[in-house]
């Protein structure tokens, strides 16, 4: 439980406190400057304060590029507000730049007259050279368009900590908390939750707890005492749906969703996984849940990860595997096996920039066609995608439910932006979650390995250890019902069609598509995955200007909702905004014979609201 305490206030110059409805802060520094921690802490505090928010951590692929260089810049952006927040923000209100490289990489996104806080102690000649700058921007008037606050951050941090007896390096590591303290002052935020976090994280090193607390208070007091900071801001809590909230990232939500699925299905969960950015955190998280009986296995490679999960399902657990694009590619053959033996399996692809190694820490959504079709031969697999970080909880739960009910592998799509981005999440109560208890086959009488349920076309889940149900399954084509190896031409066609029909049957449970915005009109924007935020924001803004626009966001990519075609036909134009070269676009055009248009951004970054608005304006003049 959090309590909001008023921070210490000494004699202070006259202050202006302005109430505004939103702000976007970007913390940028060297990889070693602790910008992710600073950003996460501010996020946590804002969430506890009651703001709606969205975050965008933007870090480099390398563990530690040379200090002060351009590739080493790590950033964290947070958009928080008293109104609905859909995106991390197109333009930045406050930029904290810890060195010239961070400034250079991020200044273009700072609004005119935005607040720019720089650490002058890191703007020496050597630092400028590393950022490939010839002139010092603090001196050449190139930053006149902004409200520049040049702060001797390192010096002031050391001054605040001098009594503690730490070496210079340790003191300097606290300067990110000085910057955090400054931002807390700017937005009138309490420091309690960060105090608690420090106490927990450095519980074995009380000196570091004290050092970081002092640095934070020093940053706060600095703004308080300095006339230059004459204005601070108040962003009141947002009117969120009543309930109990927590901050959540997509990967955490996914992990929690699988624990929930295990409980709701009353079946143990087995995660076979191999470390890969940006999915590794799911493995880390789930390996902590042993008190829920969760079995995690770091396999020797991606193929062992998925095949061990298949083996687990064969033996009666819910097999899960998590990966990113390159890992999905490796798992292809095994996915075909899962389709052929009709066992439950959930495969999570946390998409990132490709092809090949691509951009490991940057987001993209270009694995859709791989998910839909990336197997040899006809191997249809249901595909689901989350729209927000919190939605990943639903994704895990629903993918698990479908996998079990239809005895089928399911692909669950997320992406780097959702995985690492955070938002406030209304915590469900376990009593409100759907129950889908597993029933394993027990009765030998009339048992056949491929005898199908009339409604779902699922075969029975008959696990080893069950007397009387001994049977063999495998990847070779089999006779329907008996499961005996069978190469007959008509049987093969029958089985191919049955496996396709089973996936199609899932559509009977997919709710009808209901567009947000106008149910019919000039334009409908179709999206899937993490473009939900920017599309929503853009559509809201354009509708406020009188345009008639609908927004359809798909969470089921295969099969598609029954009424999707009908819905699309109610609009004059169909626009598909995707972070790929037009993959859903191709699927919709082929299936519905609709002349849909694409808006395609493949830059390793989410769409800006303005980019989508510009396209809308272009299409509806």
């Amino acid at each position: 439980m959090s309590t909001i305490t008023a921070p210490p206030v000494a004699e202070a110059p006259p202050r202006n406190r302005r109430t505004i409805d939103k702000a976007v802060i970007r913390f940028a520094g060297d990889s070693g400057d602790g910008m992710q921690i600073t950003g996460s802490q501010f996020t946590n505090t804002a969430a506890l304060y009651g703001n709606d928010l969205a975050t965008f951590p933007d870090f480099p692929a390398e563990i530690r590029a040379p200090a002060g260089t351009l590739p080493g810049v790590s950033g964290f952006q947070i958009h928080f507000a008293s109104t609905d927040v859909w995106t991390p923000g197109d333009a930045v209100d406050v930029l904290v730049a810890m060195n010239p490289a961070a400034l250079k990489m991020n200044i273009a996104d700072l609004k005119k007259n935005g607040i720019l806080i720089v650490n002058t102690d890191n703007f020496k000649e050597g630092d400028l050279r590393k950022a490939q700058m010839t002139a010092n921007p603090l001196e050449d008037h190139s930053l006149d368009a902004y409200r520049l606050f040049a702060v001797e951050l390192t010096k002031l941090t050391r001054a605040a900590l001098q009594e503690l007896g730490l070496d210079a390096k340790s003191m300097d590591r606290c300067k990110n908390f000085f910057a955090l303290g400054m931002c807390y002052w700017l937005y009138n935020r309490p420091m309690d939750s960060t105090y608690r976090w420090l106490e927990d994280k450095f519980s074995k090193k009380p000196l570091l707890v004290e050092a970081n607390k002092r640095a934070m208070r020093a940053g706060y007091s600095y703004c308080e005492a300095t006339e230059a900071f004459f204005e601070s801001y108040e962003i009141p809590p947002a009117k969120l749906t009543p309930g109990l909230y927590r901050n959540i990232s997509g990967n955490t939500a996914l992990a929690l969703g699988f624990v929930a699925a295990s409980q709701q299905a009353a079946v143990p969960v087995f995660l076979g996984s191999y470390p890969i950015t940006p999915a590794s955190d799911i493995l880390h998280e789930m390996s902590m849940y042993k008190d829920f009986g969760v079995m995690t296995f770091q396999a020797e490679d991606e193929i062992a990860a998925v095949t061990s999960a298949i083996g687990a399902s064969y033996a009666g657990a819910l097999g899960i595997t998590t990966t990113s694009g390159p890992g999905m590619a490796l798992k292809t053959e095994a996915l075909g096996l899962a389709v052929a033996v009709e066992l439950p399996l959930v495969v999570c692809d946390i998409q990132r920039g490709g092809p090949s190694t691509g951009l490991p820490t940057k987001t993209e959504q270009a694995d859709l066609l791989q998910a839909l079709y990336g197997r040899n031969s006809e191997a249809p697999i249901p595909v689901l995608a989350a729209a927000t970080p919190g939605d990943c909880f639903w994704l895990a739960l629903e993918a698990s439910r479908i996998a079990i009910k239809y005895m089928v592998p399911v692909i669950a799509l997320s992406d780097g932006y959702l995985a690492n981005g955070a938002e406030p999440w209304r915590i469900p109560s376990s009593a409100d979650l759907p129950k889908f208890p597993v029933s394993f086959a027990k009765n030998p009488d009339g048992f056949m390995p491929y005898k199908r349920d009339a409604e779902t076309l699922a075969r029975p889940w008959a696990i080893p250890g069950t007397a009387g149900l001994e049977h063999r399954i495998g990847g070779i084509e089999k006779q329907d019902v008996t499961g005996n190896i069978n190469y007959e031409p008509l049987n093969h066609e029958k089985m191919v069609r049955l496996r396709a029909a089973k996936v199609k049957a899932i559509a009977q449970e997919i709710p009808d598509v209901v567009p947000a915005g106008d149910p019919e009109g000039d334009l409908v924007i179709v999206g899937w995955g993490s473009t939900f935020g920017p599309i929503t924001a853009a559509v809201n803004a354009q509708r406020a200007k009188g345009r008639r626009i609908g927004h359809v966001h798909l969470r089921y990519l295969n099969p598609l909702a029954h009424n999707l075609g009908t819905v699309l036909s109610r609009y004059k134009q169909v626009l598909v905004a995707e972070m790929n070269m037009g993959q859903l676009l191709m699927v919709l055009r082929a299936k519905y014979l609709v002349d849909a248009i694409g808006l395609n951004k493949i830059q390793g970054k989410p769409f800006l609201q303005s980019e989508i608005e510009a396209k809308i304006q272009e299409l509806i003049s």
């Binding site: 439980m1 959090s2 969430a47 506890l48 009651g50 939750s193 608690r196 969120l240 009543p242 309930g243 109990l244 909230y245 927590r246 929690l256 624990v259 929930a260 087995f270 849940y289 042993k290 008190d291 829920f292 009986g293 079995m295 296995f297 396999a299 020797e300 193929i303 062992a304 095949t307 061990s308 999960a309 298949i310 083996g311 687990a312 399902s313 064969y314 033996a315 009666g316 657990a317 053959e333 096996l337 033996v341 209304r426 915590i427 109560s429 376990s430 696990i463 080893p464 250890g465 007397a467 009387g468 149900l469 001994e470 049977h471 063999r472 399954i473 495998g474 990847g475 005996n484 190896i485």
Partner: protein, 340 residues
Amino acid sequence: MTTAGIPVLTKKDFQTDQEVRWCPGCGDYAILSAVQSVFAELGIPREKFVVVSGIGCSSRLPYYVNTFGFHTIHGRAPAIATGVKMTNPELDVWVATGDGDSLSIGGNHTIHMLRRNLGVKVLMFNNRIYGLTKGQYSPTSELGKKAKSTPFGSLDRPFNPISLAIGAEATFVARSVDVFQPHLRATLKKAAAHKGSAYIEILQNCNIFNDGAWTTLTEKEVRSEHVIELEHGKPLIFGKNRDKGIRRRGLELEIVQVGSGASEADVIVHDETVENPAYSFMISQMEQMPGFPTPIGTFRSVGLPRYEDIARQQVLDVIAKRGKGSLDKLLRAGDTWEVK
């Protein structure tokens, strides 16, 4: 019919109604027969057996054994078996694989399974060829092998499967031969009793694509000169007259005439329980030296916990320490706030 809960099964109980599709004369028939007989003798209920296989002629075995069976994909049986055992450690899991399946595409999974000491018994049917795909050389084919893809002779030295398994520090490594039925059955039974990974190389003849690969070992006249049977606690003696012994000189092995010049006391007494893998590795290398016999039997048998047991135990330990998790508590972990 059972006695005190232990099922009394026969070989017939383990036969399926599926028509066996191996070529007439294939060594796999003999292996199948041994497996079915041994399964019946183990006192394990039929439903507890799981036979997992990869791809190859070897991997057709599950269809002919009347237990739970899973015919998977090329090379991946050990990984599938890992998921099976970690989910239900009480199952008796056997992997049927071949020289290509286990040591070529499956090499990585093989060594990791062995290093983890997963409680599965691996039957690696080694016919030194790729039979199912009709005659390419395999990682155990001899150097210079002329086969479908190597008409001018293969260029790579073969793996020594026993040495490889010992290199991965497998806790039980053995070799037998398809046509040495009593020896094969005894080896299978021994493997069945082993706690942890048991890697058994079974020399198998593919009479269609590599006929005679093992005749120097199996032909009655020369067998005793070319094969040495490893028996724990017994000296390494072979030969028609049982007059040749293996003696160690430094890191090398030498053959000595027992009786003239050397007594039985000089000969190595086989110890399969030596912790240091160097001993069994040395024995496994013997066959590669000119004039030396090929060892069959158990090279190594040491005790270590099974991977699936320590994995399960870790989970139980956490539950014992923390209590069973509460989903609602987990969902509400960390900082939360109420919106009214």
